[in-house]
Assembly symmetry: D2
Homo-oligomer: 350 residues x 4
């Protein structure tokens, strides 16, 4: 068994990692780390979980010494410090925060001003998008997981930008997500009475995941995308996000060609479900159809009237957008079959 630890055990992403690792047949959860929650038992933090019988401990060289892999589900500034501490001591560090996602210095500093940029460390991180980085994850020592919105947007755009090689001139993203995306921070607006009926423009004129996407696409294929503007909204669900991606291109692509491109691009990638063009009666992506699973459903629709391609990408922000993709990356890192411990199907309806 590969010994795994989760730091940030009291948060929603931490809880989701515990949910997925507990029954995982090859990764054994042997350590829970945290600071404010140190000393507390798992069942106090996550009422649905009672095992493994672990108590949260402070992260030190001593407490983490015997781990093979550690997942950091911590705020970006904490992740930055912990990655510096644990790199080279633990075979694999997988960071789920934004601390090491953006490589371009000025973009990093603009969107993560509270995270000191450590150029040397940053350079060593692999961007943990399993479907898009080839075999870079095999034996990677440091892995930075994409953001939840960034995962959906990048998986939505990749078949166009990296598959068809279509230069994307103007991309507009309207992202809709449930309340779990904001974690458990105490704020009045996050209380149930006020959040229940809300359709809230929480980032109407920009979001750092937009910078992450363009940074990754341009790094992977220079010139692949010109501009991407994003607006983000909270809607009254708990889990799941839908990225509506409106792509304006000079080149017309028909519906049949689009669907073929998407199916071809994700062939062999079981967690991205692109609709085949014959499956006319399978609905367009909706996050409820992936809830609790590691799937990302992606569809591209030609809107010739509007002179645009409408790409829809849906995923569970806590699974494919965080903990599930982290386990998927760990599986790849340790040479396990990619689906190990991730075979659960969507819990629908929920």
């Amino acid at each position: 068994m590969i010994r795994a630890g989760v730091v940030g055990a009291s948060g929603l992403v931490g809880g989701e990692l515990i949910r997925l690792l507990t029954p995982h047949p090859e990764l054994e959860l042997t350590f829970l780390g945290g600071s404010a929650s140190a000393g507390r038992h798992i069942g106090e933090l996550h009422p649905g979980l009672r095992e493994p019988a672990l108590t949260v401990r402070h992260v030190t060289e001593a407490t983490t010494g015997r781990l093979d892999v550690v997942f950091l589900a911590t705020p970006a500034p904490v992740s930055a410090d912990l990655a510096a501490l644990l790199a080279d001591r633990i075979p694999a560090v997988i960071d789920l925060s934004g601390a090491f996602r953006i490589r371009t210095p000025e973009l990093h500093d603009r969107w993560y001003p509270a995270v000191e940029r450590r150029a040397d460390l940053l350079r060593r991180f692999v961007y943990g998008a399993p479907e898009l980085v080839g075999d870079q994850l095999a034996d990677a020592a440091l892995i930075s997981l994409p953001g939840c919105h960034a995962t959906a947007i990048t998986l939505g755009l990749a078949p166009l930008a990296l598959g068809l090689g279509l230069p994307l001139k103007k991309v507009l993203v309207d992202a809709k997500s449930g309340s779990s995306g904001s974690g458990l921070r105490l704020r009045t607006a996050a209380l149930h009475p006020l959040r229940s009926g809300a359709i809230t423009p929480y980032a109407p004129t920009g979001h750092r995941h937009a910078a992450e996407v363009t940074d990754f696409l341009r790094r992977t294929r220079p010139g692949s995308i010109e501009s991407l503007s994003m607006s983000a909204y909270g809607v009254p669900s708990v889990r799941g996000l839908l990225a509506s991606i409106y792509v304006f291109t000079d080149q017309v692509v028909g519906q049949r060609e689009l669907q073929r491109a998407y199916v071809r691009f994700y062939k062999g990638h079981p967690f991205v479900r692109a609709r085949r063009h014959t499956e006319t009666r399978i609905p367009v992506p909706d996050p409820q159809a992936v809830l609790g699973s590691n799937f990302c459903d992606v569809t591209a629709l030609a809107d010739e009237d509007g002179g645009r391609v409408v790409v829809l990408a849906a995923l569970d922000n806590l699974v494919k957008g965080a903990a599930g993709q982290a386990v998927q990356a760990a599986n790849r890192r340790f040479g396990l079959p990619e689906e190990t411990g991730l075979t659960m199907r969507p819990v629908m309806p929920a």
Copy 2:
């Protein structure tokens, strides 16, 4: 116009009072009081409200001097102090907290240990249940509004206990309510992700509204009720509560007689809607059918198999369970028609 003030303007009940008073044709909202929120404009506290153009002020003799009526939507200990300050200075003080609801000293001290019992003041308060206290509200100087659950339970039991004069031996209440009943206090369990899917036994073995109900019924008609046990649950709605009241009696009462008794008891009381027995297709009470309105829907069902009467009472906890009933009491206090400013119909669906 009668000049009205609301203290505790930043809370949910305070906001609801503002909502109802703003278009009220006879009561003019001229003062908002509070401490932590002092200096803030109404629109910052309640995003749906922009008027009247008032800013929250500290409650002092000076700031409240010109008011005809003040509504206290404050925590019980604060209400106790404010009532002492304002009694005899302002013609009418209407307290929406629990500070002055229970008269029996030992019950008061058990359920409101943080509220100093002021026997002299307590004695002067009228229990503000407009349908149940006859003309006591006319010219009352001090009015204590019933609790939200207590309103539903008392309105549900009164036709049996006070109308038919049936001695109630054993009553069991299972109360179900939405998240607005807990107000806006910051707690992790009240955050949207954790509260959304919950059916939470928040008071499984007792609730102070049970003591309030027995206290009132016994005061009104000695011997009318022997025991009442209560369990309270949060369900995933925002507004509204349903009290399921299971009454075990020695005396069998048939369905037809029950319905007649309820309709008769509430004749002339427009805000309590008891189903006539001919209206077979009108559904049993459900809080969504009273949302936003001052109605309380009540039905009694004979369950001869179970040897019990099942009474169902539904109301909007912020309206008939708080702000609406307070305005209704104020109308009665000032000799206005009872429905003044309260003619809004249920917002359904919502």
Copy 3:
């Protein structure tokens, strides 16, 4: 009193008209019309409503003969027939369907193929957007109410297109709405278990309200808008919609100028609440902050990074998007103060 009738009484919009008309001080609801629901009492159709004590009747010349105004809350093809029947017989016919919204013949025929175009009748209809049509509503005999999305989008664009006279080159609308927008038609996807967690792209590549908006704007000011593409989504709330309107212009407009333009444009129009630029702490539009009321909250945000203006417009689809706007139009039609019967404030939280 002005005698009013509602046809289509069993639907959600019909129920909302009853909710608003029952306590209206000048319009008296004296007739409920319908076909499938004929003979049924109001309380059977809408569990929250018990009055007025009317039973649904078939619409004929005889049954509607004494009405001053009739509201048609019927499907577009039914409205088309009823308008033909009732025009010239009843002083005012207010149609809430799409039958008479689009004037350009080819657009009408494309988006309403099931509605026979009656050019003569169509020509006589006034487009019932009270804030945008000046005094056309005074004494209008035939009024066609805008669609719910169209209301939000048009109110959101008007200060730019009609106020500032900014030529709108490319407009992209991403509309998010609750389930009440789809009415009560029985469909599996509309059942609670399947709709509860959904973020559903129900019209990802186009919506007829887009045609309605461009038709109206071009008719009102030729050349004001070049293209508008729209995608529509269902989110897991019941009431309310938010239109996210992304406007790409050649001309840069600063934030301060934008806000001034919006406040100026809606001066004197109490139902459109444009944020003043000093009210920095009042949140951007969210439909929960207008629930149950006739308000439309509108804000424009300059996004210079994205080279766009982000306009957000929120309203309650059943009130300002349907029944409330219809009553507002009726008030204007009969020379009543615009707010008569519409003074209710938002029910928040709900």
Copy 4:
């Protein structure tokens, strides 16, 4: 591999069986049966599922000939017919309907009047409550799964009635459940707008699961329960139910003794989580803490004031209340470890 079939594939329980069987390591889903949905592909019926690549077929001797086990997720009358057809032809028939749950003839006929009672077949069925029937499931040919409410209530009462041997004089159950309990039948009241805010007394004076519970308990231990009355409510969640079980006994049992009795009774039964009395900070049962999992959380609370024991039992009605318990029973039937394919942890929050 053991070849499994699911009949009633288009319903919610059918979909849940597919969800659980697809990744099951020992049971291979090789057949989907249905009538109205015959010919349809799995992805059309359940948007979250795309595999296995099966199409629904009519149930005949030929189509089901090679199965080792068939799960009937069909209405009770259909199950009755199919069980008669398939018994003795297929090694194991597991019926999830109510057709074979009640043994006492008069109770069966009263609560399942539409299901012809086949005494010979009924006698051969094992009641599929894995924690309560010892080794009766090993090699059982015919298994009748308990109802969802009945599972919660029986698991809640068993430690008292069968463990402590406490005679239960009067038991009152107030059951609260989400909308998925009603399946996908098209009804206006089940539409999202009308069901979203509802707290609906759908069976206020009785429910057939009450008869099922007393029938089972008396059969297992004569005299164990005198009377059980039940009221059932729909609340605005999708999955999950909470049974509030109020037990009035003559004998006082203290809190410590209660908890010990529950923990002891369920020792060795991994799917029933009874709270240990030292775990004071683990919350009382709430269905959200078991969502998507096969757990049933049970707690008993002594309420000496109320002269009662309050037992709370929470489960996911589609998992432990249906498909999960069915797979658990199949595991036991075929000698597999009980947890095979059921190791998923609760999806919380969702």
